[in-house]
């Protein structure tokens, strides 16, 4: 490889990105050095095993990636509003939609849900940390290494451009000879392994670390959603691991899994990808369902309607998610039997989802609904998600899908469910749990402005796309000559800019609130119901000074009604895990390892791999038992 191929050249946008990366790095280094914050960064954040801090880092990364993916979306929309202006070349457009999709699903939605889970789940079950705090840190750094590796492709070597689904044979070495596809494979592989580890971690945390008395039937709905999601992760992510590994072998070592020659089967990639990919959709949506359940109940001041039905419907969705994958390629021509089966199995998902929607409505029924920002996002979710959901049912009908497939109808459908479901849910959760993390609410007025800009922009962006799809506009085209499509495309682009404004308002809202919002340090600012509202805000690093005894659902709510304290009893010293620098170092080594593989530089990958093995051995031989938190320290922190 020549050096002028190594750095991506020839496009002003990329030079700007180069410059901004260099400048941002210099600025960060300078600020850290000037304020003498290196040690703080290392001991407080990089080496932390505290689930809340890890959660915050996940969320920060997710917001950053949402910005990057959002800019990609804006660029695409600018191009499509007036394709005759030739704002983007085909090659560039292809890279942008590929990175947009990949980043939004894997490096925005996934870390956002992991962030929310980390922040809230242990607090909801009365645990002091997750089951494997060290592994939790490693999961984060693996995700971060993968995300950084993937983003690096923009300036070094070139971005992938075969779509986020990376279908073979297009993604094969023959048709995508550049390193972009390798970045895709390794970026996803690293973060995927991190996700798998997180899944195991959360399952064990929920199964073994609940406060005494909190039976599964008394567990909060968000925690339930995390448990079910984690089970899907454990069974779905290994499929992605295999698919990515096999495609890597095809591209780097000349094997014949997905090639056209040598007896390979390109359609096997498509199958494997969606056998992971469809459950993946539910991995990101179920925690959002959990968050909505918490918020609906809190702000209607009413217990969640039909706890058992909610749990059963989530389990049903999880089960069905593994037997619907072929609905992503009805048009392969697998025959009417196959298509009928997958049509019906897909439609069945509407049943548990419908039950959930009605249960949320029933929770609000006869409640007293207050329109706080988290509740606004939750309320917006219901109609928007239903629009996305029912079009999903329309897509499920195979013969009709022959007409929608790969058109903007499909694009609109999954943006309605993914933004209307996942993004709304994560933002709602962010506003909801923010005071627990930091001791103050985000400004409500600004938050409402951000909400309305985003919500209206979102509908303006995606609703016209349903019609564009029916007009026959295929996805992933960088230009069109059909003037009938122009007006709706323009509307869609305007909507995207409104969403951008909404996002910026939300960011400003966070910035403003950090600087100026009054520090109330209220333990229970929303009049909450679940356990996290019983501990001080901001949550102390050990979460619970005493582990409460649970007698019922919504323990904090009923304790308040009876005038009791949830957390009571004598203080005792307790055990906490030590911080460790190994996860972040391993993350760095994995990054080098992946980068070496992207370029086929084994001299780089092999030492990094040996370094990883050494790190693992270090971990195995490490008999650090953590430390004890004394009663005096707890008293000092909680001011008793």
């Amino acid at each position: 490889m020549r050096w002028d191929e190594f750095f991506v050249t020839g496009d002003p946008m990329i030079y700007a990105a180069d410059a901004s990366i260099v400048l941002a790095t210099i600025a960060i280094v300078a600020v850290l050095t000037y304020f003498k914050k290196w040690k703080w960064l290392w001991t407080e954040w990089l080496t932390t095993v505290d689930h809340k801090k890890i959660g915050i880092m996940y969320i920060l990364a997710a917001l950053l990636m949402m910005f990057r993916g959002g800019v990609d979306g804006l660029l695409m929309r600018i191009q499509l509003a007036a394709p005759e202006m030739k704002f983007l070349e085909s090659e560039h457009y292809n890279q942008i939609f590929t990175t947009h999709g990949t980043i939004m699903i894997l490096f925005m939605a996934m870390p956002f849900i992991f962030g929310m889970i980390n922040v809230a789940m242990p607090l909801q079950i009365g645990a002091r940390d997750v089951a494997y705090p060290w592994l939790n840190a490693l999961s984060f750094w693996l995700f971060f290494a993968g995300a950084m590796l993937f983003n690096l492709s923009f300036v070094i070597g070139g971005s992938p451009d075969a779509g986020w689904t990376s279908y073979t044979p297009l993604a094969s070495l023959e048709h995508s000879p550049g390193v972009g596809q390798n970045y895709y494979l390794w970026g996803l592989q690293l973060s995927g392994i991190g996700s798998l580890a997180s899944g195991i971690n959360f399952i064990v945390t929920i199964l073994r670390m609940r406060a005494p008395g909190m039976t599964l039937s008394k567990m909060p709905m968000f925690t339930w959603s995390v448990l079910i999601t984690s089970v899907i992760i454990v069974y779905a992510f290994p499929i992605l691991t295999v698919a990515l590994a096999l495609l890597t072998f095809d591209r780097m070592f000349g094997t014949h899994f997905f090639t056209v020659d040598g007896g390979g089967m390109p359609m096997m990639w498509v199958n494997l990808f969606w056998m992971w990919g469809h459950p993946e959709v539910y991995i990101v949506i179920l925690p959002a369902f959990g968050i909505f359940s918490e918020i609906v109940s809190t702000f209607s001041r009413k217990r969640l309607f039909g706890h058992n039905a909610m749990v059963i419907s989530m389990i049903a969705i999880a089960g069905l998610s593994f037997i619907v994958w072929a609905h992503h390629f009805y048009t392969m021509g697998a025959g009417p039997g196959v298509n009928s089966f997958f049509s019906v199995s897909t439609m069945l998902i509407a049943i548990p989802t419908g039950v959930k929607i009605f249960n949320w409505l029933a929770t609000m029924y006869k409640g007293r609904i207050s329109f706080t920002v988290p509740m606004l996002w939750t309320l917006a979710f219901i109609p928007n998600f239903v629009v996305g959901g029912v079009t999903g049912v329309m897509l499920a009908a195979a013969p009709a899908d022959y007409q929608y497939h790969n058109s903007y109808f499909l694009i609109s459908h999954f943006h309605y469910v993914l933004i209307g479901g996942v993004v709304f849910g994560m933002i709602a959760g962010l506003y909801y749990w923010w005071p627990k993390l930091f001791g103050f609410k985000l400004n409500e007025r600004q938050g409402k402005h951000g909400f309305w800009w985003f919500m209206i922009g979102f509908n303006l962006t995606f609703f016209p796309q349903y019609i564009l799809g029916l007009m026959g506009m295929p996805r992933r085209i960088y230009m069109y000559t059909n003037t009938d499509w122009s007006a709706l495309n323009m509307a869609s682009t305007i909507g995207t800019f409104m969403q951008g404004v909404g996002f910026l308002i939300i960011c400003y809202n966070i910035y403003w609130s950090i600087r100026y919002a009054p520090r109330t340090n209220e333990a229970d600012p929303w009049n909450g119901r679940t356990l996290e509202w019983a501990i001080p805000s901001p949550a102390p690093y050990y979460n619970f000074s005493r582990i409460p005894e649970i007698k019922e659902m919504d323990p904090v709510w009923y304790a308040k009604k009876r005038g009791e304290k949830v957390i009571d009893g004598p203080l005792e010293k307790f055990h906490m895990p030590s911080n460790s620098g190994v996860p972040v170092i391993m993350g760095g080594l994995f990054f080098v390892f992946g980068f070496g593989f992207v370029f086929g530089w084994f001299w780089m990958a092999i030492p990094a791999f040996i370094g990883i093995l050494i790190c693992m051995a270090t971990r195995s031989f490490d008999y650090d038992d953590g430390y004890y938190v004394s009663v005096d320290e707890v008293k000092k922190i909680e001011g008793v």
Partner: protein, 204 residues
């Protein structure tokens, strides 16, 4: 809260702390994920085994003797691994270490035979994983198992050292127990490989 032995605990040492119980549960779940991973590779192999693209077929390729020795080595190592855990339960740290070392040696013998088999295919038959889809899936399926055994061997060395250094503690016994689970899992996977790949390949 997690690292101390509960008072009045009577069961096996490796289950004596909450941390150990969680780790063992987590490892079982991890094995579930590993099972999915191998299932995918098996599925790929079953689908692609007929796609020989003019290269050698399973029947022409497979070496009966080598495969039989590998199977015997690995099955025996699973047995000795079981004996190691048995010794551990009887409180014999030396017995545990010795049986683990024997397990490790058998594992290394298996790896040696497997590598030799692969080299034979590549050098004498010209059958590399780039020859055909069948061979790609064969090498990747069996090679993934081999890579697991390699990693397991390195891991076992670490555990043996820790057992020798520290004797039987809640931690070392838990670690030994977990690698035992892993080893048995690899053995089960080999039984599947033996059946699906070698036996089917030689008969059909």
């Amino acid at each position: 809260m997690a690292a101390h032995v509960d008072p009045g605990y009577k069961g096996p040492l490796e289950y004596s702390t909450e941390e150990s119980r969680m780790n063992i549960l987590g490892f079982w779940i991890f094995l579930g994920a590993e099972f999915v991973l191998f299932s995918c590779l098996f599925a790929m192999y079953i689908i692609l085994q007929g796609s020989t693209a003019g290269g050698p077929t399973p029947k022409e390729l497979f070496e009966f003797k080598s495969m039989l020795i590998q199977t015997l080595l690995l099955l025996t190592s699973s047995f000795t691994c079981g004996l190691a855990i048995h010794e551990m339960r009887r409180g014999k740290s030396k017995g545990l270490a010795i049986w683990l070392i024997i397990t490790l040696l058998l594992g290394l013998g298996f790896l040696y035979m497997e590598i030799e088999e692969f080299l034979l295919y590549v050098n004498h038959e010209g059958a590399t994983w780039g020859t055909s889809a069948f061979l790609s899936s064969f090498f990747v399926l069996v090679g993934t198992h081999g890579a697991h055994v390699t990693l397991g061997s390195l891991w076992m060395i670490g555990i043996i050292i820790q057992v020798l250094q520290r004797g039987l503690t809640p931690r070392t016994t838990r670690k030994a127990f977990i690698i035992g689970l892993y080893w048995h899992f690899l053995d089960v996977m080999w039984v599947f490989i033996f059946t699906v790949v070698y036996l089917t390949g030689m008969v059909v």
